[in-house]
């Protein structure tokens, strides 16, 4: 609690004690129920708790703020005093202040919990001097090219490249991912990760304000700048709500009072019979107590703030409340294939040898022949070959661009390449029914078999798509520049509804335009890409989602929602968080409106007292805020 809040708490307690004393005095008939002396006695707790409200009311009226909540509260309680309801007046003011204090406290708390969530920027960096001595400096003062040391347990303060040492880094604060990432010399490290085991010497590659951690903090802190439509609705609503209720209160008092005055008792309609002006004033005061829109106005942004904070806990950065809101209405999700649904790296998926060879032999020949190549396909061949590869067995390597490689392996002439290479060598090759890149192998001029290499779908891709469908996405589309056969196979395996293959970047934009035109009125189209080369599409759709963005500035820049790791299943998680947030926002709006209008109607018919009115104001705010803080809780979404 802040000093201000503590002071308020003391005032509340003091006033409550005084109120109880006065109440007891009247109960034991030391004081009369009514009368000047009693009024003065009740003024003491009232003054303790309400002086600042009265002061602010007067001050704000002077500034022309008629429908100020302080003024309304002051009017309601002074009115209650005027009609002889002393205890009620004090109680309403007391509860109003308790509500305000709680509001302040709850908002501060959730602000704090988000701040601590974002407490991932270290305050110091261990800068290495020329002679190897370490100096603790502010990360802001470290220049690009400087060498810093990160000890085990410390956070990496700046983006850089490991020069020396190996360790595993905990990226949970950035990605929500609990599996640590191993780094060795030459690997890039990202600020904000926690060094878990070994000492690391790092050459800084980015200034503090450009480092990943600063970018992320900036993004989350400014996220709620873009307000959601329900947020705008509620502030617009509040603008009309208070004046309307106050006018209604005025009418509720004036019309019957004038009618009572003008119409003789015999001709009075039933609702006026047996009432007097004080009774109607009392009913009007109930309206004034309810007229404050605070419960609504506070709970909506609080919910979105919590939702955005909760999402970032899961490694999902949402750039604005409006995107969080839109996500719940997602109708079509468009995926870019490579790097999004698939790993973006090649893996050997099948080996089909001729009768004379075993799969291991074919793979070994191919891997050896390709031993000196850095092509992604060669790398995947070498990765798939379990036998240890001795470079001494390879000689006379000849690379034929666009075809493949020929080399001597163990004295045998081995050629590894595509169908064009086979035709060039006049070898009868066999086509393969599997999709992917086919690598043919010949040994001494005879066909030895082929190896199928493909870009495998990510482990969670299939589940991610099923999840999206389960959470109400109507259409899932996959776009790729890859061949039709590959796209078809991946689409079928993952359960994608529609795929478009062999696309150029411009085609992707055209297709997205078409999908945007097809969506229903409230439906949204989301595009998921890896942030590389798809900026035009990302900015064109309703919700642009970039994934695997850790360390990629371009992706963080271009997208509306950024997934820090590269798991497509996070999209469904984000949608669930979005739905939950919206559900809470709606609950709060409806709950507050129903209770407020309900009590107003009861009050107008003399069936509610100030007690119900205080509940409709403070109690509703209390419950709405508690409900809103649920948005921050996302443990159910983290696995």
């Amino acid at each position: 609690m802040t000093q201000k809040q503590k002071k308020m708490l003391r005032r509340i307690i003091a006033s409550a004690v005084l109120l109880v004393i006065v109440k007891l005095l009247t109960a034991f008939a030391v004081l009369p129920e009514q009368g000047l002396l009693t009024a003065v006695c009740y003024l003491a707790p009232y003054a303790v708790i309400g002086w600042d409200v009265l002061y602010k009311a007067v001050r704000n009226i002077r500034n022309g703020q008629v429908f100020d909540e302080n003024f309304l509260m002051a009017l309601a309680t002074v009115g209650a005093f005027g009609t002889g309801e002393y205890a009620e007046a004090v109680f309403v003011m007391l509860f109003y202040q308790v509500g305000e204090l709680f509001q302040d406290y709850a908002v501060g708390k959730s602000r704090q919990s988000i701040a601590s969530l974002m407490d991932i920027r270290p305050d110091v960096a261990n800068l290495e001097g020329e002679n190897g001595e370490l100096e603790e400096v502010d990360p802001e003062d470290v220049e690009v090219g400087a060498v810093i040391v990160v000890k085990p347990g410390e956070r990496v303060p700046l983006d850089g490249v490991v020069l020396e040492g190996s360790s595993s880094l905990d990226t949970a604060a950035l990605t929500g991912e609990s599996v640590p990432r191993d780094v060795a010399p030459g690997d890039a490290v990202i600020s904000g990760c926690v060094n878990q085991s070994g000492l690391l010497r790092i050459r800084v590659t980015k200034l503090c304000e450009e480092s990943t951690v600063s970018k992320i903090l900036d993004l989350v802190e400014n996220a709620s700048e873009k307000k959601a439509s329900s947020e705008n609705f509620i502030t617009r609503f509040a603008r009309y709500y208070t004046p309307c209720v106050v006018i209604a209160a005025l009418a509720l008092f004036l019309i019957p009072t004038i009618a009572l005055f003008l119409i003789p008792a015999a001709g009075q309609p039933a609702f006026l019979l047996g009432t007097d002006w004080a009774n109607w004033l009392h009913r009007a005061l109930i309206f004034l107590v309810i007229s404050c829109p605070c419960a609504l106005v506070i709970s909506v942004p609080l919910s979105f703030f919590g939702g955005i904070g909760g999402a970032s806990k899961c490694g999902i950065l949402v750039k604005g409340s409006n995107y969080l809101e839109a996500l719940a209405k997602t109708e079509t999700v468009v995926f870019d294939k490579t790097g999004t649904l698939t790993k973006g790296t090649f893996t050997v998926t099948a080996v089909h040898p001729e009768a004379a060879y075993t799969p291991e032999q074919v793979l070994e020949y191919a891997a050896l022949a390709e031993h000196y190549s850095d092509h992604p396909i060669s790398l995947s061949l070498r990765a798939a070959c379990k036998a240890s590869l001795d470079a001494g067995r390879v000689s006379d390597v000849e690379e034929i661009a666009g075809h493949g490689v020929c080399a001597k392996v163990d004295g045998k002439a081995v050629c590894v390449g595509n169908s064009r290479l086979m035709e060039r060598q006049n070898v009868n090759w066999l086509p393969c029914e599997l999709p992917g890149t086919i690598v043919h192998v010949t040994v001494d001029g005879f066909y030895a078999g082929h190896i199928v290499i493909s870009d495998l779908p990510k482990e969670d891709a299939k589940a991610a798509i099923a999840d999206l469908k389960a959470s109400g996405v109507k259409k899932i589309v996959m776009l790729t520049g890859d061949t039709d056969a590959v796209a078809k196979a991946v689409a079928a395996e993952l359960g994608v509804d529609e795929y478009h293959a062999e696309l150029l970047p411009a085609d992707k934009v055209d297709l997205t335009e078409k999908l945007l035109a097809e969506r229903s009125q409230n439906g949204k189209v989301a595009f998921v890409g890896d942030g590389i080369n798809d900026a035009p599409v990302l900015s064109r759709v309703d919700i642009g989602i970039a994934m695997g963005a850790l360390g990629s500035d371009a992706a963080i820049e271009a997208a509306d929602i950024v997934l820090m790791d590269d798991k497509p299943s996070k999209i469904a998680t984000a949608m669930r968080i979005s739905r939950k947030t919206l559900r809470i926002v709606n609950q709060n709006i409806w709950f507050a409106l129903i209770v407020k209008f309900g009590v107003m109607i009861l009050g107008a018919f003399n069936m509610a007292t100030m007690w119900e009115a205080v509940f409709a104001d403070v109690g509703v705010a209390f419950i709405a805020i508690l409900n809103a803080t649920r948005c921050l809780r996302v443990d159910e979404f983290r696995k």
């Binding site: 703020q65 909540e69 602000r111 400014n222 502030t235 942004p301």
Partner: protein
């Protein structure tokens, strides 16, 4: 020119009221007050920015005297 300020304000409804009042100032293109993160983002005419900012502070103080904008 768009600038971001720390803006301390106590109640959400007052923040909305201040936002509304500031938006009506001449030369202000757009303004957002974020109650939760206590920030004001002001987009206003470059040439008159300083004067507009003064007026923004005055307007905010008039609507809600208990607010503070730190530059």
């Amino acid at each position: 020119m768009k600038k971001r300020y720390k803006f301390v304000i106590d109640c959400a409804n007052c923040a909305a009221k201040v936002e509304d009042a500031v938006r009506k100032i001449d030369g202000v293109h757009s303004v957002t007050i974020n109650f939760m993160s206590q920030k004001m983002v002001l987009d206003a005419d470059d040439a008159l920015f300083d004067e507009i900012l003064k007026e923004v502070v005055a307007t905010a103080k008039k609507v809600e005297p208990d607010c503070e904008l730190s530059v």
